[in-house]
Amino acid sequence: MSLDTETSGEADDEALFTEIDLGWEHLKNRIFLGIIFAASMFGVVMLALLLFDIITDFYVGMTEFNISMGDFLTRDGSRREELSGFRGAIVASIMLMVLTAILSFFVGVGSAIYLEEYAPDNRVTRLIEANLANLAGVPSIVYGLLALAAFVNGVGMGPILLAGAIALALLVMPIIIVSTQEALRAVPDGVRNGSYATGATKWQTIRKVVLPAAMPGIMTGTILALARAIGETAPLIMVGALFTNRMPFGPLDRFSAMPTQIYNWANEPSQHFIHLAATGIVVLLAFMFAMNGIAIYLRNRYETEV
């Protein structure tokens, strides 16, 4: 067939890429994508299963065991399952959070400011930083043991709420320090220089410019740390927050917080208590989701700043 230049050009175009076979390469891409997508969905599926399991128990408890949410939230714990409620544990947990926040926030933020803004790059600073990373990795039960040895027995506090708060404060302090350091690091140096160049001292610069700019990040980190603390069980068990059904009225009262109360109920042979535990888990998760929600809100609200 005689071809003019144009059609022969088209024929060349068709043949241009034919010798390159990418079928197998594209297949590998798709397989890999499938694997990593499955990996990332794994956590979501597990969370969904967990929630489903709890919600079923919760539902069964509401219907078959006639657990009333109103009674559950307004009664304290009791040996008698049909009279048992969660109020004391909720109050204890809230008081724990407030005390933990007070005890850990100022020390944590203070040491983060020192490490990030003042500390010279020397061996002592590196020692503190390494120590911090180790502290963050210490199992929570060890903090419970420390509080038991040093405060409950050592100082003779007894198994009171303050001792639990100290254990939790020690637990979350490294998290608060690290997240505060990150928030301070995120404040651009240009802003610090602008303040110095305006004739501000170092402390004025930190107090009036750096801290306000870092505060949303610090708050987010602190709330996330507290959301972790509110679910911690092991240190409270070590401190002795078990088998207490009364509502605490102050930091010196004996207590049982939400997670320990759930742990306690879950160990009971009676099915009614098991379903009370499920109801307690729902309340505890509601608290945690609310705290995480506040943290996410703060982060989104202020992320465009600086």
């Binding site: 802003v191 220089n193 602008g194 160049a197 305006t198 004739g199 501000a200 009036k208």
Partner: protein, 276 residues
């Protein structure tokens, strides 16, 4: 010095940029055999220059020639860098700013600075401008609203922001942010304003507004400006210092002389774009 004297000098500046009338000038900042090292690396080599009052002095030179380093020596911003070591003298009104009894915070209250990248604080426009007065403890002595307005007018920003003083300084455009930083610097009424490539992050229109502003600022302040842009130095400065590689001040003279008839071949090569 009498105020009349000040005014005389001010008028001289305007004539000198066009008519080239030479007058002895009052020196505000003077460096004497200034050497600066970052660790083992020498950033400035034996720099001696005298910066005259109420004039725009431009520092030009290729990247890494130490021009920003010189600027940051004047208000001791280099103190922030641990590895930085300074030898020689740097005098402000005859007083060596590196003397032990000079507090860098006090020095920076007399020498303001504007940076390359606009760096307003994440605060309202009003609080940005009032910041210097507040940290310097002058906020109670003056009418803060008036001082803020005056500074914003001085930075040619008032008309654009007078209805949004409570909105964040970060909501402004880049050029407005830079003028906000200038307003912040002049609000405390320093004597000298250091500018470290203040227009290099801005578009040409915003840059020309800043250049116009500098021409106004020099009536009240001594301006020392580092710039990458030789045309800008030629347009706005009265005196020009040319730093070349190695942190060496090669030539320092009236701007016209530098751009029309430099003494050194290296300076001429640099100005005509043969290197750098």
């Amino acid at each position: 010095m009498a105020t009349d004297g000040d005014k005389l000098i001010t008028t001289d500046v305007q004539t000198s940029s066009t008519g080239r009338i030479e007058r002895p000038d009052e020196t505000v900042v003077a460096s004497q055999q200034l050497d600066v090292y970052y660790g083992d690396e020498q950033a400035l080599d034996d720099v001696s220059m005298e910066i005259p009052e109420n004039k725009v002095t431009a520092i030009i030179g290729p990247s890494g020639c130490g021009k920003s380093t010189f600027l940051r020596c004047v208000n001791r911003m280099n103190d922030q860098i641990d590895a930085c070591r300074i030898e020689g003298g740097l005098r402000f009104h005859g007083k060596d700013v590196y003397d032990d009894d000079v507090d860098p915070v006090a020095l920076r209250r007399k020498i303001g600075m504007v940076f390359q990248k606009p760096n307003p604080f994440p605060k309202s426009i009003y609080d940005n401008v009032a910041y210097g007065l507040r940290v310097q403890g002058k906020a109670d002595d003056v009418d803060l609203d008036d001082a803020v307005e005056e500074a914003l007018r001085g930075a040619a920003l008032w008309d654009e922001v007078k209805d949004q003083l409570d909105s964040s300084g970060l909501d402004l455009s880049g050029g407005q942010q830079q003028r906000l930083c200038i307003a912040r610097a002049i609000a405390t009424d320093p004597e000298v304003i250091l500018m470290d490539e203040p227009t290099s992050a801005l578009d040409p229109v915003a840059a020309s507004k800043i250049e116009d502003l500098i021409a106004d600022l020099v009536e009240e302040y001594t301006v020392l400006i580092v710039t990458h842009n030789m045309q800008q130095a030629a347009r706005i400065s009265d005196k020009t210092a040319v730093f070349l590689t190695g942190g060496e001040l090669v030539e320092f003279d009236n701007t016209n002389k530098i751009f029309e008839n430099p003494e050194h071949d290296r300076v001429e090569d640099y100005i005509t774009g043969k290197f750098g």
